[in-house]
Amino acid sequence: MPGYSDPGFDTLALHAGAEPDPATGARAVPIHLTTSFVFESSDHAASLFNLERPGHVYSRISNPTNAVLEQRVAALEGGVGAIAVASGQAALHLAVSTLMGAGGHIVASTALYGGSQNLLHYTLRRFGIETTFVRPGDLDGWRAAIRPETRLCFGETVGNPGLDVLDIPAVADIAHDAGVPLLVDSTLTSPWLIRPLEHGADLVYHSATKFLSGHGTVIGGVLVDGGSFDWEASGRFPELCAPYAGFHGMVFSEESTVGAFLLRARREGLRDFGACMSPHTAWLILQGIETLPLRMERHVRNTGRVVEFLASHPFVSRVGHPMLASHPSHALAQRLLPRGAGSVFSFDLKGDRAQGRAFIESLQVFSHLANVGDCRSLVIHPASTTHFRMDDGALAQAGISQGTIRLSIGLEDADDLIDDLKRALRAAEKVGASAGGQAGGGKAGA
């Protein structure tokens, strides 16, 4: 690449982190399916282990194919670097475990993916890490929840599945005033819709399973550091600013002024917890990212058509997408997400649970499964699946009712998606009519 180049997003999506393979000339990124890498000499081996020279030792810690993915996602997010891990959940765990141990505290949005909510609410508590949940728009609540032992504020760009938009600049200011970093899960938006680091977030992660991969083929996660947070100035992070006995007394914040977090996350988190990504998975995610700009544009366009259709349908009581003026996050979305607020959203039928089931089971183009961000359109009932461990109160906090249906709009012809939904809505209405129900008049979840 010429030195003057300042590539745009679409170019970075294709080229960042990769160049033709110097050994073979291969233009596509090679898949380095090897556990280990031969040392040139004993001194070379020692230098690699001691971080004196760049290179790869063992694929749990780093791998050339994964390194391309890591650089590419970091480039797209505007970060200093990234770490590819086994899943989005592994990315969240890596962020938390790098920053705190028992006694640590997290302030998190209530509008989270159910798996994240489980990790914070149940599992991390078992390891002595407490979480206080705050509604994403309750800025006073974020401020009040921060304690001396707080190590992290955490939310999603758009909360799953109600699509509450996180006011990243405002929450980041609150966190930073207290000397705490802000971690944002940007899975549902991808860097094509928003780059949270530019709005004040310090760390970003993706379940790369979703839009980054885009084809529903692999499980993976990527954690990105913006390099913006001053761990030393905060005074809350001995993990990064004091000698680490587990790596010859290394002080990560001295070793790398802007890469301290990633250093520890890789040298401790990947080394010891081991939730690494297969190079084959990394390659498939790279294949997906190459078309991310094209896919996201189509996801958003199709979503616009489907949302308009549903919002005007008499058997639909609510459509929860911020593109609609009725959505509580509409104004915030206009400001932070001008390209769109994503293609995963929920809506409520004006029917009972049986009608909801009939609706889902009548769909033919939409696939009923537990995923989002696929190129194919997907549907699920959150209260009985992704969020089934939450009680009604927690569901309500997350913007979910018993009648809520979540869609992930894919890349099919929008007319076909609308036709599929139309047919399924008609089938659901018929179930209500034949049962003497109150199609068109009942409350969702009744």
């Binding site: 003057y4 080229h15 020279r53 970060g79 200093v80 670097g81 390099g227 002024t257």
Partner: protein, 269 residues
């Protein structure tokens, strides 16, 4: 490691090994809006291969207190004072970009006390365009982007797993700028580069071999802009070595192996 120099705390990264006066010492000087961490691999490697490394944060930059140097000469005074404060009698000097001019000026002052001088990504005169100097003062984010775009030679850096060098350069620049609430060290550093006029006299006064490690694709300090100084050094009878590195101005991060190898050959490390 913190050292008191001229009454102010100065920070030196020692490469993960404690400072040991018995070992040969290499001082590594960063460029404008950088800090010690740009020498990551090279400093750590030398420190674990028999060298005493002092990768400094210049005064008013990063972890070092004191007034940010207004000139190359002032910064060179700091380097000399640092060595005196630590009782180091002889040292190799390594500098990148602005730091190369500082290392050159310091080596000239040290005379025989300087054992080697390595100038990485250097040019003389190191003129900075008026537009960039003005942007550094009034639109630092824009200027920082320009510098990192001009410095980049690859979208695929080998600088360690998962590191995006362009983003790291941007973040480090922002951090160093923020580290000094009193002075815009970006602007001050560029002005110091632009005004420095002492290189020919300094190179003639050297009493040690000098390495020019230049990036073939360097747009910030183009190799041709170093030729006059190389010629002046040769004309002065100096032991001159030139290494061309396959990289732009991010020598240490975009060509870490080649840069380290060049330094090792030169230093005999």
């Amino acid at each position: 490691m913190q050292v008191t120099v001229n009454g102010h705390a100065a920070y030196c990264y020692t490469g993960g090994k404690p400072f040991d006066p018995a070992k040969p010492t290499a001082v590594m000087v960063h460029g404008v809006l950088n800090d010690h961490s740009v020498w990551g691999f090279q400093s750590r490697h030398l420190a674990h291969h028999g060298w005493n490394v002092l990768a400094v944060d210049l005064p008013g930059h990063g972890r070092s207190a004191g007034d940010a140097p207004q000139s190359v000469e002032e910064a060179a005074d700091f380097v000399v004072a640092l060595l005196r404060a630590l009782g180091v009698e002889r040292a190799a000097l390594v500098g990148h970009s602005w730091g190369s001019l500082i290392a050159l000026e310091a080596a000239a002052r040290l005379g025989p006390a300087a054992t080697h001088l390595a100038l990485v990504g250097t040019a003389y005169p190191m003129k900075v365009s008026p537009a960039l100097i003005e942007a550094a003062l009034n639109e630092p984010e824009k200027a920082l982007r320009m510098v990192n775009v001009f410095s980049r030679s690859s979208l695929a850096s080998p600088s360690g797993a998962g590191v995006w060098v362009f983003g790291a350069g941007m973040a480090l620049g922002r951090r160093v700028l923020r580290s000094n609430p009193h002075v815009n060290v970006f602007h001050r550093g560029f002005v110091a580069c632009d005004r420095y006029a002492g290189a020919e006299a300094a190179v003639a006064a050297l009493a040690c071999p000098v390495l020019f490690a230049l990036g073939t694709q360097d747009q910030m300090t183009q190799p041709r802009a170093a030729q006059g100084l190389i010629a002046a050094a040769r004309a002065a009878g100096q032991d001159v070595r030139v290494e061309m590195l396959p990289v732009g101005h991010h020598q240490m991060t975009e060509a870490p192996e080649e840069t380290l190898a060049a330094l090792r050959r030169f230093l005999g490390a």
